[in-house]
Symmetry: C2
Subunit: 156 residues, 2 copies
């Protein structure tokens, strides 16, 4: 049913992210897929990513899921609009609002929806669910790396 | 010179966070200290926390550092204001603006400054530096857990 995960279409040189890089054996290897008008990532965090209270996810991981999946949503949306290959986006700004504690031990679903595409800038609205419970919402502003930067490693 | 790290004063039951819990052997065990009018955390992330491009930190970790240190800054500031023991704060809202890529392999310094204390709500402004380079800024709204919640584990 699914096409390739968006992260599996990233340029080889940009696939090392701890959150979503297929070339990072220590990382989470998050995978995002376009479904209908949204982009979806499903992930079950390991129990050691607990927050202060055992049984709940730590805030930094909630932010990581929203950030990495936001980048994938932006990349997919831009490719769909332009008809070009999937590029690589980096985060300019990230906001997370925590609605409820996010439980551990269940699969989480992060849903991304594009708010705006403006040249190389893509804004994405995100929601993180545990079952039917909305645990967090987020908003990211992503910037596409310039094509030449995808051929050569940046110096800064 | 230093007093105890703020995280070492958290209640035993609230010390399991992957980012800053002294009781999480798999975690980062971040430590924050009050210095003058600011709260400071210094940390050198391990190389596997790379972003898409090797040599730079992934965005989720930048957010984690700002989030956990923001919670510690809020807890310390509230305790200083009230004269009570250090409580435990959880994140209501987190914003991170990424100014420059954050390099790996160097000690990072995260500086937290309280913007407002309003009852159980504390707002903190944060900056993340690599040497003299400002890599990211952040803002967090933290909420203090109620005292009774610090005695009994929450059910939700």
């Amino acid at each position: 049913m699914h096409e390739s995960a968006i992260q599996d279409l990233y340029h080889e040189d940009y696939s090392h992210c701890y959150g979503c890089g297929r070339n990072n054996p220590h990382g989470l290897q998050l995978k995002s897929y376009w479904e209908g008008e949204e982009c979806i990532c499903r992930h079950t965090p390991k129990s050691h990513y607990t927050g202060g209270v055992p049984g709940f996810l730590y805030g930094g991981m909630v932010a990581s899921l929203i950030d990495c999946h936001g980048a994938a949503t932006a990349a997919a949306a831009k490719a769909r609009e332009s008809g070009e290959a999937v590029g690589r986006f980096v985060t300019a700004s990230l906001t997370v609002d925590f609605a409820k504690p996010t439980p551990l031990g269940v699969e989480l679903e992060i849903r991304g929806k594009v708010s705006e595409i403006k040249g190389r800038k893509v804004t994405v609205a995100l929601s993180l669910f545990a079952g039917t419970t909305l645990c967090a919402t987020g908003r990211v502003l992503m910037i596409q790396l310039l094509p030449q930067a995808q051929q050569e490693k940046p110096t800064a």
